[in-house]
């Protein structure tokens, strides 16, 4: 067989293909395995998990979910996380797009733009301690508005960047025709710009939702009352309370993860764009 013949080329190509696909598949398995293990184990009994970590559940038994949701009060955490995340995104949308609109369409200002870029450079943890003070001073420590302010502030910069980049290149004629028809400026914002900015809003909105839902550190510091705990706080305390009921722990984690997965399944494009937006803007 000639070393440089067609046959050899085809064989080499096949070998390379096998190599590529197996490498990718190995990683796919690695990426998905822990999650899969978590879901499968959440349907199993704790003793079964202890004896055989890899096994499949005998029956699709939701008892663990019941344990953690009702007896462990996980529903409180779930609802709290839902409230915090959706409210944060709502406030974030309004605040960020308004600021981006003012700077992008009305009058630009490099100083203000630089000020709004602060968020990217400062790690959120760096301001934990002072915020701890400030929230107490404003009497919103351990309250929903308090945590909300923190969440919104953490996400403002990236949301502002995304909105600004989106709004700036839009044609000026949009508002001009509105003004000529006698439309007021706020009205132009609400009825014309805001609906148009929907792609940008969905990008940073989903990112903000993800950041809020997945947060642990902020919530653990700024919320101390159990009835306001977010779902991640519940997971953390659950480790202590249910330390022997592993099935319940897996169920709890699954509950925390399911909303994110649902969002990912339906909005994969936006999620990917959002998570990398911060990076590429750099």
């Amino acid at each position: 067989m000639r070393k440089d013949g067609i046959a050899m080329y085809m064989i080499k190509r096949q070998a390379a293909n096998v190599g590529k696909y197996s490498f990718l598949t190995v990683f796919a398995v690695l990426s998905a395995f822990p999650l899969a293990w978590m879901f499968i184990s959440s349907f199993r009994d704790s003793t079964a998990i202890l004896s055989e970590p890899f096994g499949l559940p005998n029956r699709l038994d939701g008892i663990n979910y019941y344990t953690i949701w009702v007896k462990g009060n996980m529903y409180v955490g779930f609802i709290n996380s839902l409230i915090m995340a959706t409210c944060s995104v709502a406030v974030l949308t309004v605040v960020a797009t308004m600021a981006a609109y003012a700077l992008a369409r009305v009058k630009d200002n490099t100083l203000l733009y630089a000020f709004f870029s602060l968020g990217i450079m400062i790690p959120a943890q760096a301001i934990l301690i002072p915020n701890f003070q400030i929230l107490q001073f404003l009497n919103i420590y351990n309250t929903r508005p308090g945590l909300l302010s923190i969440y919104v502030t953490n996400n403002i910069t990236i949301s502002f960047f995304i909105s600004y980049a989106f709004l700036k290149p839009l044609p000026k004629e949009l508002e001009e025709s509105a003004y000529m028809d006698g439309c007021s400026k706020p009205r132009a914002f609400w009825s014309i710009i805001l609906p148009l900015a929907f792609p940008a809003i969905s990008t940073f909105g989903i990112l903000g939702f993800l950041n809020c839902w997945n947060d642990y550190l902020m919530a653990s510091i700024f919320i101390t009352e159990r009835r306001l705990y977010t779902v991640n706080l519940f997971i953390y305390t659950m480790m202590g309370e249910f330390s022997t009921d592993f099935g319940a722990i897996f169920a709890g984690m699954s509950i925390a993860v399911i909303p994110i997965l649902i969002i990912y399944v339906f909005f994969q494009e936006q999620v990917s764009k959002g998570m990398t937006a911060g990076a590429v803007k750099g």
């Binding site: 590529k20 990426s31 970590p53 605040v95 968020g119 997945n214 642990y216 994969q268 999620v271």
Partner: protein
């Protein structure tokens, strides 16, 4: 009065326009000012005080900084963070890059692989951390189970209490979770490379490896720089993973800088000291960012870039249109 006048140079703002402008900027500005700008100032001020959260803060000069720099636990956290950074640079970023490179070469399953790779990155770090903690468990953890099945049973350790490995046990979830993010970043970067460049290199007979290192990577230089900065600052900020797996222990063996800060401030109630640690965290992050920028920009003067610029100029002249 119209603010947006195409063609008119002078724009006179009415009172209503001013109210509008300020009103639209105010909420974002206030939030950022109160919850970000002021805290930065307070952080610096607090770092020079001694405060336990209850009684009023007492100014004590640079005592905190001195205590910090002679504290072994602090330096252990710093070295731990450095280990994590090395792991990030040698594993997380290259793997993400490699995955992006390979996935561009396959024909089927592109979307599937892409979705799966990014999956861990969207989950809560706490959940991933807890998951790994359960996997490390001596009794029912899958890691030990897999190792025994594969025959590596003799390498099993008590992953979470053995001081020699606990740092790596705790670093792995962090590295694991965000490979997908870098994968996606590199992927979108590689996709911006015009296909003519890749085709011409293929025609010229360059192997895939050569193409990768000599053409693809330099063309996404900016993205590489961003990834380096992201990876390193991410390592410095990482908290959820070590906290939920070991709480930073045993002792401070698995604490990174962020964990150390948290423990000193919110567990030991030494807020002044914690603020000093925070200030050092910020300074390290800034320093690394600036050094990276300088190093990456220096190579802009390399021979490669000069040649590339020349080629572009010649190319556009040949096609008859100026850049």
């Amino acid at each position: 009065m119209h603010l947006i006048d195409s063609g008119k140079r002078k724009k006179r703002w009415s009172f209503g326009d001013r109210v509008f402008y300020v009103g639209f900027l105010a909420p974002a500005f206030t939030l950022l000012f109160v919850f970000m700008f002021l805290p930065i100032l307070f952080s610096v001020i607090l770092s020079f005080t001694k405060w336990n959260g209850g009684s009023p803060a007492v100014f004590n000069g640079i005592t905190n900084y001195i205590q910090m720099f002679i504290n072994n636990d602090y330096w252990k956290s710093v070295t731990n963070t450095l280990v994590l950074i090395v792991l990030v640079l040698t594993i997380k970023i290259p793997l993400g890059c490699l995955l992006a490179f390979i996935i561009l070469k396959i024909t089927r399953g592109y979307k599937f692989y892409r979705s799966v790779f990014f999956l861990p990155a969207i989950l809560a770090p706490l959940v991933i951390g807890l998951l790994f903690r359960l996997m490390y468990d001596g009794n029912f953890g899958v890691i030990n189970a897999i190792m025994t099945k594969v025959g590596l049973g003799s390498y099993i350790r008590v992953w979470l209490s053995d001081s020699s490995v606990v740092l790596y046990s705790v670093s792995i979830p962090q590295v694991y979770q965000y490979i997908g993010t870098f994968f996606l970043i590199f992927l979108s970067a590689f996709l911006t490379i015009p296909s003519e460049v890749l085709e011409s290199s293929r025609i010229d007979g360059a192997s895939s490896v050569r193409t990768f290192f000599s053409i693809m990577l330099p063309m996404v230089k900016d993205v590489v720089q961003v990834c380096l900065i992201l990876g390193i600052t991410g390592a410095i900020k990482d908290f959820d993973h070590p906290w939920v797996i070991t709480g930073g222990g045993p002792g401070y063996d698995s604490s990174f800088l962020a964990v150390y800060m948290f423990r000193e401030a919110f567990v030991s109630f030494k807020f002044g000291y914690g603020s000093a640690v925070t200030v050092t965290i910020i300074l390290y992050a800034l320093a690394i960012t600036m050094i990276l920028r300088k190093v990456m920009n220096l190579s802009n003067d390399s021979v490669y870039w000069k040649a590339r610029r020349q080629l572009l100029r010649r190319g556009s002249a040949a096609s008859g249109h100026t850049p």
